[in-house]
């Protein structure tokens, strides 16, 4: 029962986080300074997601195979590979390195 309470609590909190901003803001636009902040949020959040995925919480899961795969995907994209192809390059590099490790 307590597990159900935990799951439902997290689901409600999660939904509330997503709903809060749009519900409060309604049809109003956000001020220009906030828009400039918002424009930079993807760069900040994406970078942090990549760093967190590669080194893990508390630097607990630094995974060089994963890092190499991410680096390979980035390189492929820099050479203008399509999105899916770049991701597949990353998967192949990580799987290959793990297979020979």
């Amino acid at each position: 029962m307590s597990l159900w309470i935990a799951v439902i609590s997290v689901a409600l909190i999660n939904a509330a986080f997503k709903a809060a901003g749009p519900a409060v803001l309604g049809q109003h636009d956000i001020p220009p300074a906030s828009r400039r902040l918002v424009a930079m949020l993807p760069a900040a959040v994406l970078t942090a997601l990549v760093v967190a995925d590669v080194i893990g919480g508390r630097w607990a899961h630094i995974d060089w195979h994963l890092a190499a795969g991410v680096g390979a995907a980035a390189t492929a994209r820099l050479f203008r590979a399509p999105m899916l192809a770049a991701i597949l390059v990353g998967v192949a590099v990580t799987a290959g390195l793990r297979a020979i490790a």
Binding site: V10, P22, I30, R36, P42, L49, G56, R58, H65, R98
Partner: protein, 238 residues
């Protein structure tokens, strides 16, 4: 690519539908990654003593890998309250992310709150058009295929309980970080200031992950976006 108000409503409808299909197409490729990662969550939750029903229900109602993994991990070592707080903190990043898409959503407050439920990391990043504007149809389209894939993958993981290292040995755990880095490169191409923000965020993320779990580190790194506030067109007064 923001909607031009002078475009006839019919054209906007068609363009909206096309963008929705574009989002759906992207969502199907993301769904493959979600599906495989969800198998891992299903297997992990079952090995932590969760029943199959609650494991699958958790994916259906929470629909967030980072929160669900955190919940399972902290519950295994602590009580309910710390687990719920940890999972909530991990997902606190959705507060600014949903606020960012708010102007793109349609309808009154309730409908906007409902549409904002489509905000998940990958769809949100893919829906960014640049300059802080978001494509509502692409956001919703990219999320639609991911939800059933996440729930179905969890069900398979919970029922079949495959080896925990299957996803890792196939290199599939790189799907999301690779996707994020590809989107990041596109963001960096669009603005020099984004490069500065990304560099600051890298430092903040690397430092904060020393003391914090991954989801919280993402939240702690988001203030790097504050560097985007100064108006590049406004010269300082002499």
């Amino acid at each position: 690519m923001a909607a031009d108000r002078s475009v006839p409503a019919g054209d906007l409808c068609v363009s909206g539908r096309l963008r929705l299909f574009g989002g759906l197409r992207l969502g199907f490729s993301l769904a493959a990654g979600s599906f495989l990662l969800a198998i891992g969550f299903g297997a992990l939750a079952r090995s932590s003593g969760w029943g199959a029903a609650i494991t699958i229900s958790a994916s259906a109602v929470v629909f967030s890998g980072s929160a669900q993994y955190t919940l399972a991990a902290v519950l295994a070592s602590g009580g309910i309250a710390p687990a719920v707080v940890a999972a909530a903190l991990i997902n606190a990043r959705f507060l600014p992310m949903a606020l960012a898409v708010a102007p793109a959503l349609h309808g009154g407050r309730l409908r906007r709150a409902l549409e904002a439920q489509a905000v998940v990391d990958a769809s949100w990043a893919a829906a960014h058009l640049g300059q802080g504007r978001f494509d509502r149809e692409r956001l919703i389209g990219a999320t639609i295929p991911q939800w059933p894939a996440w729930v179905a993958g969890t069900a398979i993981g919970a029922i079949a309980a495959p080896p925990a290292d299957l996803v890792s040995s196939l290199g599939l755990d790189v799907v999301f970080p690779a996707f994020f880095v590809v989107l990041l490169i596109d963001e960096l191409h669009s603005s020099r200031r984004a490069c500065v923000v990304a560099a600051a965020s890298t430092g903040l993320a690397a430092l904060s992950t020393l003391a914090l779990p991954a989801g919280l580190a993402v939240l702690a790194s988001s203030p790097a976006a504050l560097l985007g506030i100064p108006d590049p067109l406004r010269r300082p007064a002499r």
